[in-house]
């Protein structure tokens, strides 16, 4: 009988742990965040690569850009449409997407991704304010 009380207690603790996501998020609907495009980004119309590619692979592009500048000193990127861009996070990417908090951070914090861009780069939108 004493054993059974112990077993039931253990079972209840286990079920409570399994159900953790259900009670932790109780009553908090969490739809995916809306990204805000700045006026400049909207005006540009297209990013360096198509949106679908950027959504999935922007980290590869940024890393390839970093390696090309830091290791090979190549600062020119030509996209499939033949358009050239200056390879620079601060001067190219953040020129349009100057709203890090509403563009980068929203998805990253929603998905709990922590890119190490900002270990080195400055968030200039914050600096200006």
């Amino acid at each position: 009988m004493k054993d059974r009380t112990l077993i039931i207690t253990g079972l209840i603790i286990f079920i409570a742990l399994v159900a953790f996501p259900f009670w932790y998020n109780m009553g908090k609907a969490s739809p995916q965040p809306d990204l805000v495009l700045t006026a400049k980004a909207k005006a540009a119309g297209a990013c360096v690569m198509p949106t679908a590619y950027m959504r999935a692979n922007h980290m590869h592009l940024l890393d390839a850009w970093r390696n090309s500048v830091v290791r090979d000193a190549k600062r020119v990127f030509v996209n499939p449409q033949g358009k050239t861009f200056n390879i620079s996070l601060t001067k190219t990417c953040l020129d349009c997407h100057s709203n890090k908090a509403e563009f980068c951070d929203r998805c990253h914090s929603y998905a709990s991704a922590e890119p190490y861009c900002w270990d080195c780069h400055l968030d200039q939108s914050k600096e200006n304010k």
Binding site: D3, R4, I7, I8, G10, L11, F14, I15, V18, A19, F20, P21, F22, Y24, N25, M26, G27, K28, A29, S30, P31, Q32, P33, R55, A56, N57, M59, H60, D63, A64, N67, C107, S109, Y110, A111, S112, A113, E114
Partner: protein, 358 residues
């Protein structure tokens, strides 16, 4: 060709195809909403049912395993962990068993030495290493997945993610670009460990001989889950925010099927659902069973304390003394020896005689 693993493999392939075709022909709500809820309910109800049926079972005998000296005379040193006579010792042994799988560490292999006829017991450590890697990696992977089921993500989950993705393996050639976002070691270790545990069952003849379809099926299933997970994260790039919207919808009871969630995710989710629903009715219940094993959770104080079998019912007993009391006269008449002579006179005389003789 072994029927046992072929059936399991075919079953997992069939599940894979069912989820793929199902999500492609527009059954996404079924695979993304109905099955996950059903699977979680089956898991919890089935788990509780199995544990409670074990709790109701009798423990007729004290059968703790002993792996060291039992507590006996004061000058003999007892092994209080491997032969625990106290509840504290049992708890400690249980923790070591659950966390470090110590009983697998004891695995030995009997071998005849080539020189002469000497028998040797070699430490067979690979099962222990493989199982340890598998269980810890699986737990880490499971814990990391909380980031998809919590918003905001708790700090401890973020910490585990950070440690797990500590090493960076960015491969950035024009042709091959992999390992971004950061590689989680636990996922890779899980895949390698499950592969090892599978190959072990396939290629070691003695292990293969005792392996059933029910042993292969969870291995193939977990392989499929780890494989699709890795494929989604590093290669086919599932849309993370849409995926989290789906998973968050499930745990907040506002289920949605957002656009942009690919078939691969539904395959992964369906395999996980199958694992959850299959769990309580399979060998995987060792998750709960390890805590309820009499060989592990009983004290080895069998000599100090009597274990009463709950099956014992009151048995009418007739001791020899009572038997003799009932039949003494008849026994004496028949000349049978009795332990207690009746009191009459002649008996007293003989007693006296005897004492004189003495």
């Amino acid at each position: 060709m072994n029927v046992k693993y072929m059936y399991s493999l075919l079953a997992v392939i069939a599940l894979f195809l069912i989820a793929w075709i199902g999500s492609a022909i527009g059954l996404k709500p079924l695979f993304g909403i109905v099955f996950p809820y059903v699977a979680v309910m089956v898991f919890i109800a089935g788990f509780a049912y199995r544990v409670m049926s074990w709790a109701r079972s009798a423990v007729p005998f004290a059968i703790p395993t002993t792996c060291g000296q039992q507590k006996s005379l004061p000058w003999i040193k007892p092994n209080s962990v491997d032969n625990p006579t106290s509840t504290g010792g049992v708890v400690l042994r249980m923790i070591l068993e659950v966390v470090f799988l110590r009983s697998l560490f004891r695995n030995t292999r009997m071998k005849l030495k080539e020189s002469g006829n000497k028998l040797a017991y070699n430490l067979e450590i690979f099962l222990w290493v493989g199982a340890l890697a598998f269980h810890w990696a699986f737990f880490t992977v499971l814990f990391r997945h909380l980031r998809l089921f919590t918003n905001p993500v708790p700090g401890c989950v973020e910490l585990v993610e950070k440690i797990d993705s500590f090493f960076r393996f960015e491969v950035l050639y024009d042709a091959v670009k992999v390992a971004l976002p950061g590689v989680y070691l636990s996922g890779i270790i899980l895949l390698l460990a499950v592969t090892y545990l599978l190959l072990r069952r396939l290629f070691i003849p003695t292990v293969k001989y005792i392996s059933q379809a029910a042993d292969y099926f969870p291995l193939f299933l977990i392989f499929g889950i780890a494989f699709t997970g890795i494929l989604m994260r590093y290669f086919l790039k599932v849309d993370m925010t849409s995926t989290k919207e789906l998973t968050m919808g499930l745990v907040t009871f506002h289920p949605t099927i957002p656009k942009g969630v690919g078939s691969l995710f539904f395959i992964h989710l369906f395999l996980v659902c199958v694992l959850l629903a299959y769990f309580p009715f399979s060998k995987l219940m060792h998750l709960g069973g390890v805590f309820l094993s009499p060989t592990r959770n009983m004290r080895t104080d069998t000599r100090a304390r009597r274990h009463v079998n709950p099956w014992n019912y009151p048995v009418p007993i007739h001791t020899y003394e009572e038997y003799e009391d009932e039949f003494r006269d008849k026994m004496i008449e028949a000349g049978l020896p009795v332990e207690k002579m009746p009191e009459p006179q002649p008996a007293e005389e003989t007693d006296k005689k005897e004492s004189h003789d003495g």
